[in-house]
Symmetry: C2
Subunit: 194 residues, 2 copies
């Protein structure tokens, strides 16, 4: 039988990563977030920082142009090479265990391969701005601008590799406003559906 997997897609600053980690703890299953980054780094030979940035976000300033300007690995742009490694690892994880996977288009990659619970976490701009200033130590200088930029690049990346619209409710089984319910309540709701 296919393994049961919770995929967490999230807006930057919505607490989706924390919700993923806490849900995994509550369910007693692994959470792939930073762990996935490390696996991808090991497998690809690329730097973690590069993967963190490029494995979910299109680069700044004209992503199409930049993608084509990338140096190539085995005839693929680095961005596409990273995508194939990321995809292969996520498929391997999906075949081996129940788990939570945060981000990285896992919802799309595992769509036909696992028993998925696809979750989207978001929050109003003001709540996210407060969160990234307080928790991530971001400067309080225009956090909204930075959030909009992150959202835009994550959406562009998702659309480029999945041909679907990021953040549209209909792609997920459940979508939750983390500011309305709080982190722990979101964890409770998701765990109860697993």
């Amino acid at each position: 039988m296919a393994h049961r997997i919770v995929t967490i897609s999230r807006e930057f600053g919505s607490g989706g990563r924390t919700i993923g980690r806490k849900t995994a703890e509550k369910l007693g299953i692994p959470c792939y977030d930073n762990e996935l980054l490390e696996k991808i780094a090991e497998e690809s030979g690329l730097a973690k920082e590069y993967i963190a940035e490029r494995g979910e976000y299109t680069p700044r300033g004209g992503w199409l142009a930049t993608a084509f300007a990338d140096r190539s690995v085995n005839g693929l742009s680095v961005q596409d090479y990273l995508w194939t490694v990321q995809r292969r690892l996520i498929l391997q994880i999906g075949e081996s265990e129940d788990c939570v996977i945060v981000g990285r288009c896992a919802d799309y990659i595992l769509e036909e391969k696992a028993d998925l619970l696809k979750v989207f976490i978001y929050a109003p701009m003001a709540a996210r701005a407060e969160r990234i200033v307080t928790l991530y130590g971001e400067t309080s200088d225009s956090p909204e601008k930075r959030l909009r930029d992150k959202d835009k690049r994550r959406a562009a990346y998702y659309q480029f590799y999945t041909d679907m619209e990021w953040g549209k409710a209909q792609h997920y089984h459940i979508a939750l406003d983390s500011a309305r319910f709080g982190i722990d309540r979101c964890v409770d709701i998701i765990s109860s559906l697993f």
Copy 2:
């Protein structure tokens, strides 16, 4: 204190109306769906069938043209007159009691006026097509086409009167795929959040 209200926005054929009714039953509060239609008919003098169709959907075949071609009531197009009556009644309801309201842009109309739990219910096309054929006795001839048409008109209506995008997760506190969880489970989740 503001009354607590659950607004249910939903894709046609997703079972959102049934989820609204059952949630209200479970919480022991009124559900405004057909009841709201009757109130609007009484107040406006318009026929229920007209309100059912025009109070949530833009008319077929060029809604803008049709809207302007409408006969006027007190200097408003019938469509806009219906909107003002609908809006006034929903605001009255929001001031008078805890309740569930299905559709009719209640989430937007009550945004600042009540303690809202904004819910969006949707389901994959295949599940909705099966539902409208089985439950509503729709002909099985292209139910998908009819669903797409309904979705499009509901989205256009919502956007026209609220200037927001219908069905975008971020407008709601929670969005649920009713085909994945089933009607009763959706009712349980929503009731637990009230």
